[in-house]
Symmetry: C2
Subunit: 327 residues, 2 copies
């Protein structure tokens, strides 16, 4: 039975990943650090057969789009090559995440696919190897493999063998909460991949961005170690605002933000002025993720629900590593 | 009779000014280019008397706030010093511009004050000298002195004597229109002066911004010479988006935008996709100025009025130089 099923959780970068030094191998320009989101997950089942027909790749019961399909194929081919296997594959993914909305569907999906595919062919890969495999489907997916609070090491090797994510702390380290204000759950107009390419190629701010990341990585690592929400939140906001600033420096400029994105950011500042420690971060998309303490989730959720243009609010704690599920 | 009355018009930078190399003399880090706005103006009347009491400075019938008062005093003192006069001054300003909303009230106001004050004391200053004088009240005011399409020369002299605005083209050169979507006519939370100081001091993008301006100045000059709206609009949008990106790179980050600012930007892109050439620029404030051709003003005005959060829409053509009015 060359089949396996796996689950992986989405993640949100606290120190952002934005731009590749190698497009094909998905090697980043900088390191990044994330929190895994327990509440948002994707399951993947992968079955390899003896035939030589085309692979079947389905997401949520429908054939995968061209970009998802091509990237899944890349992960499958890497796994087949490692295992010396040449049959066809059947991949089914499902989960509770809207696709392409900047909520980490690719991260969870490719972490689950890499975990399931390598298990299905009986490869005994280390976590780092699975993470590097997931990375080649979608960069941020490598961080969902170790789960918890994870750092994607930038690496230096041209073949990408040292560019994978490691666990800084398990999910039990800090019961931080992420309240997500969904202002648009549709697929974004500019994919993360395209957005970071445009930025790296044409933004007058890209070099300064790249150079600014190291400090934020240090800040986030230390804040996580100390469970210091103020320090973490301030670094995460700086990182997110700077990432989005780089898109305004592209030629032509572009932005992932919607009016409601700014309305949520404004509400977060109001919360802070009122004494509730809440900090915003935004990935490539219009939705806003707000970091806060468990005992303040109620206040934060209510405040965000009240913002015009917010469609839904959901909350997550830190999530576990990607893992194979019983058959 | 040591008194005079003058009028000056607001202006919008097409290639933005953002940051000073000398705070006291108001010397910029880079050059900038603007279009003067015929529809938005301020009048100033200045009367000098023999007494030695405090100066009286009123804006719109009320005493000037501390910042406006201090800056007006600086211009008055410079004029008195040039004229070797030591009496008191009485200044009244009024106009059709909301104050401190990023619509150029300081630009029009200090251009009018510099013009009126120097005339009141019988100084026979060149346009460049009046422009340099207005600059010390508010940087962008120097561009409202020559009017039309004006370039503020960065200059190099430590005393600021070569940092003033020159007229690139008169208002008759090109009947360009600026449609202004007012989303908030209140005073902004962070003044331009404070915003650019915070940015220059802490933004990781400030150096890149500074280095990026020269290209946009060339683009804007050439586009004005050729009356090329596409080239002008694209350069103006790049310049504006980059200026606002620098504030997101400050520590802590900040922004002048409101949700409706983004909604207007989005509507401008929709107009362009529909074949109406319209380009957005934004100064330090949430309001959006849209460049278009005279025959498309109706379409643009209607589109902007329709955007949620837009309080008012007004349109201007290119405006004239600051000038002394008959007594």
């Amino acid at each position: 039975m060359r089949s396996a099923r796996a689950i992986a959780h989405s993640n949100v970068a606290l120190a952002k990943y934005w731009g590749k030094r190698d497009e094909r191998l998905v090697l980043p320009e900088t390191g990044s650090i994330s929190i895994t989101l327990d509440a948002l997950w994707t399951e993947a089942s992968v079955r390899f057969g003896e035939g030589d027909g085309p692979d079947l790749i389905e997401v949520g019961g429908a054939p995968a789009g061209p970009s998802d399909g091509r990237r899944t194929l890349r992960v499958l081919d890497l796994v087949r090559s490692m295992a010396g296997f040449s049959g066809t594959a059947e991949v089914h993914c499902w989960g509770n995440l809207p696709l392409g909305a900047g909520l980490g569907s690719s991260a969870a999906g490719f972490a689950a696919i890499a975990t399931a595919a390598s298990a299905a062919l009986g490869l005994r890969l280390t976590e780092a190897e699975v993470s590097a495999l997931a990375r080649q489907g979608s960069g941020s997916a490598c961080r969902s493999v170790p789960g918890g609070f994870a750092e994607w090491l930038c690496g230096r090797a041209p073949d990408g063998s040292d560019s994978y994510a490691v666990r800084l702390f398990g999910p039990e380290h800090w019961d931080l909460r992420v309240v997500i204000a969904i202002v648009n759950s549709g697929r974004k107009e500019v994919s993360s991949r395209l957005g970071m390419r445009r930025t790296a190629e044409s933004s007058v701010f890209y070099d300064a961005w790249r150079l600014s990341v190291e400090r934020e990585l240090r800040e986030v690592r230390q804040a996580l170690a100390d469970r210091d929400l103020t320090r973490l939140g301030e670094a995460a906001e700086r990182s997110a605002m700077r990432m989005h600033a780089t898109t305004l420096g592209a030629d032509p400029p572009f932005s992932y933000w919607l009016p409601a994105t700014l309305a949520v950011l404004s509400r977060v500042r109001v919360l802070r002025r009122g004494g509730t420690e809440a900090y915003a971060t935004i990935d490539a998309g219009p939705n806003v993720k707000v970091l806060c303490r468990p005992q303040e989730v109620g206040v934060v959720e209510a405040a965000l629900r009240d913002v015009q243009g917010v469609e839904d609010v959901l909350t997550s704690g830190p999530g576990p590593a990607a893992r194979v599920l019983p058959a």
